[in-house]
Symmetry: C2
DNA sequence: ATCAAAACTTAGCACTGTCAAGATCGCCCC
DNA sequence: GGGGCGATCTTGACAGTGCTAAGTTTTGAT
């Protein structure tokens, strides 16, 4: 009786006239949006499905027609994050002058990884708190290894340019990934600020700093055994 | 009437005859212990103060005489973790043949950092999910920068052995810390398993791998500008 | 022995995740 | 068009939670 179908009667501030197809229009996406906002405001621990539902203008039980569980909602956010991360990384490569040059390619990916964490902290955290935390396994169509693969591939390209028997490619993959992931986590969770005088590097520069340091070290390895053959051996 | 003061009447399995000074003996510590166990079993998200209290054999409201808030309990666990981490790192140094040799010292610390994360995952996660998550700021006497300082100091010692103008010490600190922290997080949260064929390194070796890779790269930097002056310049 | 404070209990509030049952709504097929 | 049927949403309820207020014991110091 009081609920009109236009959605005008409810105080949903964002995009109230989208395109109401069903009762709500697209509750699933609305819930994800609302949840991300709420998490941004109060932290993931104090997110409640009921409040998200309230925010979306539906009843408390409505979400359960789209997510079997609160953990599934969080998994959906994480899944979104994985596709966004892959997009960001591909973008970073595409923006390169020579996308095939191994070292710049790797460095661009690394910076993109850390930047993504800073720009999408909520998603990032949910993406990498899988086994723990109240997040279900990732849903059907989601494949995190797409993003990981980009990184792995880029590292292996760099590894090929190194003199043989220098460093096993696998170890380098692990090192590079740990590096950017750790940088992202440290920036996100803020222990850098705790190490008072020791580190005065701004959050926005942590990614670039770390990545270029690794690049410089790799250059040394390149140069140490034979002259300066750091061209692109794209074979 | 049914509760004897000896503590025998309650089904607390661990150390039931410690030294009952007050009602319980040492509820605060018991709650911490029980909480860690419960988190290990069901994850931190589904920890409830009430269940921890139950496990400790006290009423639901008892914990509030020791922790103002559930988040404070978690902070206490994190605080314990920080002193344990510092101990582990000091131990790692002490076990060294020559604790003053810069590179071995740094590598030992790095391995200890990652090993600690693997051996105390619950503490580690709470330690580094401060700003986010439902954890209060660390309590009074806790100083995380003690552990950080060890690492920072060790990195700076290594930096001093590098030829000047190679890499800024700060960047190296950030790099080393990110490296070990990232390795720890990747091992703990398990995305390594997701990157299927790419990485076949066992969890227990991730720390050593990553640390020795960095060490090797630093060696290249050492060797590149002048011969092989990688002695211990303990000045 | 006394007594204030510390440690604990009981009872209760507001809230949560989740479920079962019913009410609507939109769409497809005749 | 009308009938139906499944997807979508609501109402109502249950058990469990964090936390508080008000009492009750116990403790250690005086």
């Amino acid at each position: 009786m009081s609920t009109t179908r236009t959605g005008k009667a409810k105080p949903s501030r964002t995009k109230e006239r989208a395109k109401p197809r069903y009762h709500h229009g697209d509750l699933r996406a609305a819930l994800v949006r609302a949840s991300v906002e709420l998490i941004a405001r109060d932290g993931v621990e104090s997110l409640s499905l009921r409040e998200a539902a309230r925010e979306a203008g539906v009843s408390s039980a409505a979400p359960y027609h789209h997510f079997a569980t609160k953990a599934d909602l969080l998994a959906a956010i994480a899944a979104d994050g994985f596709v966004a991360l892959e997009a960001s990384m591909r973008e970073a490569i595409a923006g390169l002058e020579d996308p095939e040059a191994p070292s710049p390619r790797l460095q661009a990916l690394g910076r993109a990884y850390v930047r993504f964490a800073r720009e999408h902290p909520i998603e990032f955290r949910l993406m990498f708190r899988g086994s723990t935390s109240a997040r279900s396994p990732l849903p059907k169509g989601c494949d995190p290894s797409a993003s990981f693969g980009l990184l792995v591939d880029a590292v292996e390209r760099v590894a090929e340019t190194l003199p043989p028997n220098t460093i096993e490619p696998q170890a380098l993959v692990l090192t590079a990934w740990s590096l950017v992931h750790g940088a992202a986590e440290l920036v996100l969770e803020g222990p850098l600020a705790t190490a008072e005088g020791s580190i005065t590097i701004a959050d926005e520069q942590v990614g670039a700093t770390v990545v270029s340091t690794l690049g410089r070290l790799l250059d040394f390895a390149l140069v140490s055994k034979h002259g300066a053959r750091h061209g692109r051996s794209t074979t």
